[in-house]
Amino acid sequence: MDQSPLIPKPFRLGPFVVIAAVVGIAAVAFAYTAGWLSPHRLTPKKLVAGLAPPGGPALGHRRNHAKGICFTGTLNANGDGSTLSKAQVFVRGQYPVVGRFNLATADPNAADAMVRVRGLGISITTPDGQEWRSAMIDAPIFPASTPKDFYGLLTASASKDPDAMKEFIAGHPGFLTFLGWAKSAPWTSSYAEERYNSLDSFLFVDQSGAKHPIRWSLIPAAQPVPIAPGDLAKRGPDYLEQEITQRVSASPQRWTLVITVANPGDPTADPNKAWPADRRTINAGTLIVQQIEPERDGPCRDINFDPTVLPSGITTSDDPFPAARSAAYSRSYNSRTAESSYYPRTDAGAKQ
């Protein structure tokens, strides 16, 4: 080098332009990746905001399925699921369960008879330290075919434009199948009489590494007794929680875990499309709900029943929902846990 670093050099602009360009390009690339330059990107934030009622979300509560009650119990696996998945949860044995019965509404104070869809969140842990979480509903299909369509549905149903829903339905006839179920399927007066469905398709991976596209359901042992929504309303706004508490304290409630295996060509990427009724099913065991606890200090309160928390032996499929749900549930969880001062809890931490 001809110059000593100690002797000041004449000022040159070039290097500063290079430095500014490097820093500037890096900053813009970062902003682009973060979505700040793409206001049309469907973000978890937008999707979750779309669920909020006109007055804004109920702070401290789940952004959807906000009304619910905790349960604990076991999954008694019979070993038959092991032909499809190597997960320990299918090996014959008894595994502890934490779960939550819930109503598909953003309002934690909604009256039971006002909410058509009921759900169940479940977390099953096995001795190998792995965990399987799932959030399922009683509808046989989902109202939308893709997360984007679901966002479209939320936007249309919140819209002040009287034609918004008509336009949505015209563009998404699959919604009519859901509407058909919502209008015609009988209501029941108990969480214990509902069948809960994964709707989303996943892949079971067996010992040999082979992948099997499947869906699963929990089928109640209790006989469903139909009730008109008007009669349910007469029993009080929180009847379902009172009923399940009494029912379980009188005797544990059971569901059969049924795995349905897809035939080649069945629509795995679309939870709005049911699979034909004759598909092969496997009974993998029994869910036994042994105890009900209120949500406020219960073991389900601080759990996010993220459907992508899966043991090795189960993976996501080409169904785009689990990814979108995981992103949205995480956003909802972050918000509600940060708002815990608004939540009517009675002690500081959750029981584990």
Binding site: P5, V18, V23, G35, T43, A324, S326, A327, T337
Partner: protein
């Protein structure tokens, strides 16, 4: 702590550049994943966790090497405030490289998520489940990530300044190959 060497040792240089790539990837993966609902979300999350833990392991090795081998002295003619800034920025970068992965891991623990690295391999929780702790750590992970990116940009700007304006040999201390006719 300084050494008479004019360059960082080869393992230190290797770790610096390997980790630079990993950390920049982590920052982009992080902001990318929390802004999408497409299946990319899951792929990015599945990279973010193990890569973050790998960074934690690597930075502990790097810190040990730094304590053993030290660093080449900064150029004698460098003004004192700049020397101080250089030292301070190194301390901050090390602190962030260690803190970010631990905060990520602790944040998932406090939220009752299993910390799955790959397949059946998962880490134990390092905190009890607690919404208050989760919120604190979640905010820390978020704000420190942006601080990290800002400090890296300053670091890069400073190094380019040394190279392009002063050409005082600071870049050469870390250059992967010799770009300057000095010898070890």
């Amino acid at each position: 702590m300084t050494t008479a060497r004019t360059r960082f040792t080869a393992p230190q240089r290797l770790l610096h550049w390997l980790m630079a790539i990993c950390i920049l990837s982590m920052l982009f993966i992080g902001v990318g994943m929390v802004s999408t609902v497409t299946p990319k979300y899951l792929t990015l999350v599945q990279i973010h966790k193990p890569l973050g833990i790998a960074i934690l392991v690597l930075v502990l090795i790097r810190l040990t090497l730094r304590l053993i081998y030290g660093a080449p002295a900064l150029p004698a003619g460098l003004p004192e405030p700049i020397k101080l800034a250089a030292h301070l920025s190194q301390v901050i970068l090390y602190a962030l490289m260690i803190a970010m992965p631990i905060i990520g891991w602790a944040m998932l623990s406090a939220a009752a998520y299993p910390v799955v690295l790959f397949g059946g391999v998962h880490l134990p929780p390092i905190l009890p489940v607690n919404p208050g702790l989760h919120t604190l750590l979640w905010h820390a992970h978020y704000y420190l990530a942006f601080a990290f990116f800002a400090v890296i940009l300053m670091h890069v700007a400073a190094i380019l300044f040394h190279k392009l304006v002063r050409n005082d040999g600071v870049f050469e201390t870390m250059a992967p190959v010799l770009t300057h006719d000095r010898s070890e």
